[in-house]
């Protein structure tokens, strides 16, 4: 019980920090930190969506960055074609991600285990190559989004603080949704499938159908992160979908604590801050980051949330 309260306290502290960050940025005049944290919040959203299938559903997707690209390209391509309204861009981004997830999920879920990891990876790489081949939309060089999504005065995405709070609201919304899903009958079935698929099937649950729906929900959520990311950087390129980005998302989930509600946020914050911090010390930050990952895997069972839990129990 005490262990629970330590991780709860840290989580609450972190969430409060995220909510109050624009205030600090305003007072200290540090604009950079707000930009940095907007990115962190968006990638935390992506990591949370991955956690839904990976942590709760047991589906190890190594191609989650594809949705970041699809959501981003939906915004960028529509903007290029003169459709600037966010009320069109965002639904299209979500729908495109959902359709992609449906097709890829239907194919990938025919396999399991390592095959699933490799196949999701390969399909994401395919999406990467397709984006690189889109000559009209910048190809390899990417696509500049000259105007952020326009929500007809409701919210101004060019305003840093408003945009930050929009991203944060999306993140909290998604976390709330995941919480509801995980505790619903549907979520319990999906988690049951993670523990013992055969038994669940024997009881009479159509396993693949449940997993596919979960896969599509997760992909759609990540598409939202993609649409936000394109607005944040005013740019979208195939690099967003590169497989190392999928790896980063996986690392965030594991680092924070797979299968915990707030773990992915924690993971994203720690991972991206660490990356920022190390890249300020040395140009060769990955030289430290790589072995660090290895050590986390070898010794840090259950991620940060797991460690906090153990620390609490003493």
């Amino acid at each position: 019980m005490k262990g629970l309260s330590v991780s709860k306290a840290v989580t609450a502290l972190m969430l409060a920090g995220l909510v109050l960050l624009p205030l600090y940025s305003q007072l200290s005049g540090n604009i950079f930190i707000l930009t940095l944290f907007t990115r962190i919040v968006i990638l935390a959203l992506a990591a949370a969506s991955l956690n839904l299938i990976m942590g709760f559903g047991g589906m190890m997707s190594f191609g989650h960055a594809a949705y970041l690209g699809i959501g981003g390209y939906a915004v960028g391509m529509l903007a290029q074609e003169g459709v600037g309204s966010g009320f069109i861009q965002f639904p299209v981004a979500l729908a495109a991600s959902a359709i992609y997830a449906l097709v890829i999920g239907a194919l990938s879920l025919r396999t399991r285990g390592v095959y699933f990891i490799m196949i999701t990876l390969a399909f994401a790489q395919m999406a990467y190559y397709v984006a690189s081949g889109l000559a009209r939309y910048g190809g390899d060089d990417g696509l500049t989004v000259y105007k952020r999504s326009d929500f007809s005065g409701l919210i101004d995405l060019s305003n840093r603080t408003q945009f930050y709070y929009l991203c944060l609201a999306c993140l909290f919304g998604v976390i709330f949704l995941i919480w509801r899903i995980v505790n619903s009958r549907f979520g319990l079935v999906v988690q049951g499938l993670r523990s013992n698929e055969q038994r669940m099937q024997a009881i009479g649950f159509p396993a693949k159908r449940y997993q596919l729906v979960c896969f599509v929900i997760s992909g759609t959520m990540c598409g939202l992160a993609g649409a936000l990311l394109a607005n944040n950087t005013d740019f979208v390129s195939p690099a967003v979908m590169y497989w190392t980005r999928s790896g980063d998302l996986m690392v965030m989930v594991i680092l924070g604590g797979m299968g915990t509600l707030f773990g992915p946020i924690m993971g994203a914050v720690v991972f991206l801050l660490l990356e920022e911090f190390l890249s300020q010390i040395t140009e060769y930050w990955a030289l430290i980051m790589g072995p660090l990952l290895l050590l986390i895997v070898l010794f840090g069972r259950g991620g940060i949330m797991g460690m906090l839990g153990r620390a609490g129990r003493g």
Partner: protein, 305 residues
């Protein structure tokens, strides 16, 4: 005709190269149950070692041989220091840990050799075109790659199927506790297999080096192709990897060469030239999707009971 034969041989050469990479990957997975993303890094290291040693010694062959030894040693060191501790862990742990290793290797290469790529020049006797059919010439070096890869494939087959070590390896794959109980040093065997896989990846890298530039991240794209091959061929199956690799090499090469022209006959010129590059890079993934729909466990699954 000339173009067809040439592209056909290019496809074969690329496929065989992919096989060297996929064989190591599938061997390590089949026997140690280890997913090694850093396999592509070993491929990259093979190329960097070859370029460096060839520049030192002034001889391409000597450089290649030294590079082969160096990747073997590197593989063994990697297994003993890091990867050995991952056996028996969750696959996700493997993915993450070896992902970390990729970051490390890429950065280490940047630190040691700098961000610019290296070139590995060929000796004169390998650059001459060789007549293969009347009126058709093909570069000697690419022919040499085909020959070496075929030889290695044959040796690998004989080694695994006909020798005592190969027997132990196969026994280790089907029941590791049992062969440990029979007094075989399973740890040493695993290290050996990993070193072999590393050397195969290094061989693929050093042979590809003169054709492409030697650069950071060169192992990553090709690693994903190796994954596709393993999925198509069936995990753990060397025979499956061989056939799937040649298949994928052919389709990828021929698709890139001929698809634009084929499309131009169906679609308008502009539409064809937009769609062709995207479609030809998608081809092998479409192939993989089809294989998955028909046979989810791959074409030649290793442990069919």
């Amino acid at each position: 005709m000339l173009l067809v034969v040439e592209q056909f041989l290019n496809g074969l050469q690329f496929g065989l190269l992919l096989f060297l990479l996929a064989a190591g990957l599938t061997l390590v997975f089949g026997i140690m149950d280890l997913v090694n993303l850093a396999h592509g890094s070993l491929y990259m290291m093979g190329a960097y070692f070859a370029a460096t040693f060839a520049a030192w010694t002034g001889s391409f062959l000597l450089g290649a041989l030294m590079a082969l030894g160096a990747t073997l040693v590197l593989g063994i060191v990697l297994e003993v220091t890091a990867l050995r501790h991952l056996y028996g862990r969750d696959h996700l742990d493997h993915v993450l840990a070896t992902f970390g290793l990729i970051l490390f290797f890429n950065e280490a290469v940047r630190l040691i050799w700098g961000p610019a790529g290296l070139a590995l020049p060929l000796p004169a006797w390998l650059t001459v075109p060789v007549p293969i059919l009347p009126g058709i010439h093909y570069p000697a070096y690419r022919l040499a790659i085909i020959a070496v890869a075929l030889l290695v494939a044959l040796l690998l087959y004989l080694g695994v199927m006909r020798t005592r070590i190969g027997m132990l390896i196969r026994a280790g794959a089907s029941n590791r506790e049992m062969i440990g109980a029979l007094g075989i040093n399973i740890k040493l065997l695993y290290t050996l297999v990993f070193g072999l896989g590393a050397a195969l990846a290094g061989l693929a890298g050093l042979m590809q080096a003169p054709i492409l530039t030697v650069q950071i991240g060169m192992g990553e794209n090709i690693l994903i192709l190796a994954f596709v091959i393993i999925v198509i061929g069936g995990i753990g199956s060397i025979r499956g990897a061989f056939l799937a690799a040649i298949f994928v090499g052919m389709i990828d090469t021929l698709g890139r060469a001929f698809l634009p022209n084929l499309l131009r006959q169906v679609l308008s010129g502009a539409a064809a030239s937009t769609a062709a590059p995207a479609l030809s890079s998608m081809l092998i993934y479409l192939l993989m999707a089809i294989v998955l729909v028909v046979r989810p466990e791959g074409l030649f699954p290793a442990n069919r009971r």
